[in-house]
Symmetry: C2
Subunit: 301 residues, 2 copies
Amino acid sequence: MGQIGGIDVRIEAAVAAALALGQGPADGAEAPGKLRAALDHAVFPGGARIRPTILISVARACGDDRPALTDAAAAALELIHCASLVHDDLPCFDDADIRRGKPTVHRAYGEPVAVLTGDSLIVLAFEVLARAAGDHPRRAVELIRVLAQRTGMPGGICAGQGWESEAEVNLAAYHRAKTGALFIAATQMGAIAAGQEAEPWEELGARIGAAFQVADDLKDALLTEAEMGKPAGQDAAHARPSAVRELGVQGAVRHLKDILGGAIASIPSCPGEAMLAAMVRAYAERMTPVDLQPARGAVRG
Amino acid sequence: MGQIGGIDVRIEAAVAAALALGQGPADGAEAPGKLRAALDHAVFPGGARIRPTILISVARACGDDRPALTDAAAAALELIHCASLVHDDLPCFDDADIRRGKPTVHRAYGEPVAVLTGDSLIVLAFEVLARAAGDHPRRAVELIRVLAQRTGMPGGICAGQGWESEAEVNLAAYHRAKTGALFIAATQMGAIAAGQEAEPWEELGARIGAAFQVADDLKDALLTEAEMGKPAGQDAAHARPSAVRELGVQGAVRHLKDILGGAIASIPSCPGEAMLAAMVRAYAERMTPVDLQPARGAVRG
């Protein structure tokens, strides 16, 4: 959604300001140098910054009357996402060597620094929100509550990752926590930052999260490793639950469209309702590009 | 400080309530079972709960007019301390097998669950504070800010641990972050929970933290492995900086007494000033017991 006026620039500035807070004074003498550098490595250059983009889009749709709080919320959410990538890449989880085209944090700085990088980014997310409270401590507290709820236990991304250590998995709870949680945080935090209630925005976040899950399943089934930037065909190889395994490629594409239709229908009444619907439609186009057409999928899927 | 009226009971109740929030509904079906059990394993039974004891003592000295907020602050601080122990015990740091007389979390539940346990406890600490805000969102925001500052980068316990991956160490910054930070959080959060300014309470926390560091150095030099419950003589074996190496045993004991005298002198004017001074004196007695007398130390130190 880089097209929507200046959101990209706004996110990068907010994340950079947050990171500077965690790195401390520029001379660096007061903070350990490797950990200081690793924070930067984990956060820049970023990926698609999808979650903060959704957050700011919702805040704008609700009037965005406290943009500094919105920026802090966007940065905090992205820091949590980056922290989760650093810890998920560790040898005891995915043991990944490469992330976003460069060595993972533990490959570049060692495992102790990688554990501390994730920990520090989690803590920094909450510090950024507390420091942005200004004249709106109630909004800040609510942002912190929602971000924590969607990050930790029992229903956040930590819980989602925790399900992967279980012999028997509650699949609904697993997907809700692992993929859905931070998308729900995105829509709810956008609303809270702009002074609105969080609750009406849960469904939109949950549906966008579900759509990304199905789109990921489709990519895993249809794209090559070179196109993915990581190994393809992993769901089938590991017999993982997948919308493509369950519904076939054409069924999964239809399912994705249904979810996104439901997402648009779920948008709460607000000044920017039409803009948000356009955003979801744009995501839908990006998630089902030409090379994910059923004709090709039928050959490889 | 278990002697001071009911603090022990109050802390255990507050930590149990916080943990129940992180574990979710009692049937457990909505959360991954191993991670759920590991949270409990990491937090109960506790150690000395020194940091929350100091926190509640300071809050009481300041009037403790919002005890629910004080309890939340005490629980949050202890959750952060427990999280740091779980991560510090990991194979890439201390590779510890035993903690508080039972297997460490990664030995009991595996390394992935141990990483997630630390992450979840950090997040839970901030969630507990956000949920306790009630009619005092400004106090809650300030508690979150101080806890984050003393936990993460550039000056919290994450930074302290991060210095151990550096070739050249800023020793003052290292000790301030590694040992001092959570004691400063304890005194400052106690004051904030009771509606007072944080700043005047920094020195007391820093001095108590410094005293614990010297006491630890003395124990390492003077006690046996059986008395310590962990390997003794590690500072000398690893040529680590230590007050005993620098000052000798008698010098370190004198230094400890000086620090504690300064701690008492630094207590800000408040209704419970005398009670706090008595608390610091009680810690001083516990930190320099009969078997740490110079006579014995001169033989073994």
